[in-house]
């Protein structure tokens, strides 16, 4: 009985005890559960529709490929690669660019944000710079960056660095700003020096904001790397999509888009897990 009930609840059939007794549920969002049953149905119906749509040749495969075609391309590309690079090399090329650009963005952005949060001089000095560059989409820099540092890895990493930098500056500044004065005062009263306060109070205290910034920056970087590879690259998932589209190979394009989606999702999940692990106190202070 208990097992069955738990199971029913898990797959979304059961409702909790309170919801069952409610007389009005419209507008009561606590009564709206996941509805996983419907999710299964939705995925199932859409898959069938995709399969049938292409099996009955209702759509031109140039516009939307058959599931089998996408799958075939996946097996083919993961074995033989695409345009001189294996699938994993393409994925790795994109990930590598992100990680380096993102890491540089953090490396410069976080200390700068800290300085801006802690010192009036730094805040005043860099505020106009940050405010000016922040609203510029990193992709608008593509032409400039190509002139500055060519079309190699360096310029893609520079773009990603730009994409991450401002987000991290602002996140770190917000992190510093979120430190409760009473924590600082407590630390001073416990005999801490300025340096100790920076390392043992301000830094750990701003980790939640910094991590939120990192998650946003990762998302933006992922979007930017795909777009940056649309322009001049010889590897990367974005390049793969773009190159395939030039030959109207819609199956590869769709495969690429699915890969982009899955990796983006995986990165986000990973960051959340990492956050839960590293900053367990987040939201519970």
């Amino acid at each position: 009985m208990t097992l069955i009930q738990t199971l029913k609840h898990k797959i979304g059939f059961g409702t909790d005890g309170l919801t069952k007794r409610k007389t009005v549920t419209f507008g009561d969002t606590t009564a709206v559960s996941d509805g996983r049953m419907w999710s299964f149905l939705s995925v199932f119906v859409l898959s069938i529709a995709w399969y049938l749509g292409s099996a009955l040749e209702l759509v031109n495969p140039i516009f939307w490929p058959a599931p089998s075609a996408v799958w075939d391309q996946f097996t083919a590309i993961s074995q033989d690669g695409y345009r001189n690079f294996s699938l994993w090399e393409h994925i790795w090329a994109s990930l590598y660019r992100i990680f380096v650009g993102f890491a540089l963005g953090c490396l410069i952005g976080i200390p700068l944000g800290f300085a801006m949060g802690l010192s009036e001089l730094m805040r005043g000095w860099f505020d106009p710079i940050v405010e000016f560059f922040r609203p510029i989409p990193p992709l608008a820099f593509i032409p400039l960056v190509i002139i500055w540092s060519g079309i190699g890895e360096r310029s893609k990493i520079l773009l990603l660095f730009f994409a991450a930098l401002w987000i991290m500056v602002i996140a770190a500044r917000a992190g510093v700003g979120s430190v409760k004065l009473s924590k600082i005062h407590a630390a001073y009263s416990l005999g801490a020096t300025k340096r100790q306060i920076l390392m043992h109070v301000i830094l750990p205290n701003s980790l939640p904001e910094i991590f939120t910034g990192m998650r946003v920056a990762m998302g933006i970087c992922w979007g930017t790397v795909v777009a940056a590879e649309l322009v001049a690259a010889e590897s990367g998932v974005g390049f793969m999509i773009m190159a395939a589209s030039k030959f109207l190979a819609t199956d590869i394009v769709v495969l690429g888009v699915i890969i982009v989606g899955l990796i983006g999702y995986a990165i986000d999940i990973l960051m959340r897990k990492l956050e839960a692990k590293l900053i367990p106190w987040k939201g519970r202070a």
Binding site: M1, T6, D16, G17, L18, R21, K22, T23, V24
Partner: protein, 269 residues
């Protein structure tokens, strides 16, 4: 007359892991029109559950609730509610909040304006009709909540810790306002509170509830609410009679709470 009769009400919740929680067990009582009942009890003893059943938001697993001899199923404008705070509509002005009920029912505009004016007067906010809600202090907001509830002219008013978020001074003033409204309108009122002082001072009747299963542990009939209409509240609260009742109820509740905490964790505090 619109008497409220709660008859043998029980509420059992199924928890996700298949267990059952007896939130209320065979609760029965009746209130005559115009009675003021306050309910006290430790956290989790089913106070809000009881109020929600009377309001019609929850269906009890057993028993019935009837108002003026009609059994109740679901919410209705015959029972008004006042919550702890945050239940006003911030996007409306004070007057618009008060007129929400009549508006929804399509009452003619003139009549609405008249009602609103009168109610603003009643709760002492005559100059604040056009103010947005968020510019008011917590106490003023609760005045608006009272007026909004009265605009529909309900038979019963249900209040779940309406003064819980106010500071001591404001709270004292609001208690007097509740007494005044009770007297003037003759509504039946049920008021949940965590403050023993407030429960004693406002309740004509007082139920002290106990948890596991949720039930009425003790009932009191109290003289302080009537006295409060004429005498100085500070004097009443300092009277030996008030203090001794307070000590009695206080020890009863703390005993229950210590028991609950003892069950929950090893160390209290």
């Amino acid at each position: 007359m619109s008497d409220l009769v709660v008859n043998d009400v029980s509420m059992v919740f199924d928890t996700p892991n298949g267990e059952q929680v007896q939130a209320l067990h065979d609760v029965s009582f009746s209130l005559k029109q115009g009675e003021l009942l306050s309910i006290l009890g430790p956290s989790g003893c089913g106070k809000s559950t009881l109020l929600n059943i009377i309001a019609g938001f929850l269906a009890p697993t057993k028993g019935t609730v009837a108002l003026a001899s009609t059994e109740l199923h679901g919410p209705g404008s015959d029972r008004g509610m006042v919550f702890q705070q945050g239940a006003l509509f911030e996007w409306l002005t004070v007057a618009e909040n008060i007129s929400f009920g009549p508006q929804m029912k399509g009452m003619p505009k003139e009549k609405i304006d008249e009602t609103v004016d009168h109610l603003l007067q009643t709760v002492g906010l005559q100059d604040f009709g056009d103010k947005p809600i968020y510019e008011l202090s917590g106490g003023m907001q609760q005045r608006v909540a009272l007026a909004r509830c009265l605009a529909n002219d309900p038979d019963v008013i249900l209040m779940d810790e309406p003064l819980g978020a106010l500071d001591a001074l404001t709270r004292e003033k609001m208690q007097s306002l509740v007494l005044k409204l009770w007297k003037e309108t003759g509504k039946t009122i049920i008021l949940i509170t965590h403050s023993v002082e407030e429960a004693l001072f406002l309740g004509e009747k007082l139920f002290v509830m106990a948890p596991r299963p949720g039930r009425i542990k003790k009932q009191y009939s109290l003289p302080f609410a009537d006295a409060g209409l004429t005498q100085n509240p500070r004097d009443i609260k300092a009277s030996p009679e008030f203090i001794s009742t307070r000590e009695e109820v206080l020890s009863m509740i703390w005993e229950m709470e210590e028991e609950i905490m003892g069950l929950a964790t090893g160390t209290g505090g």
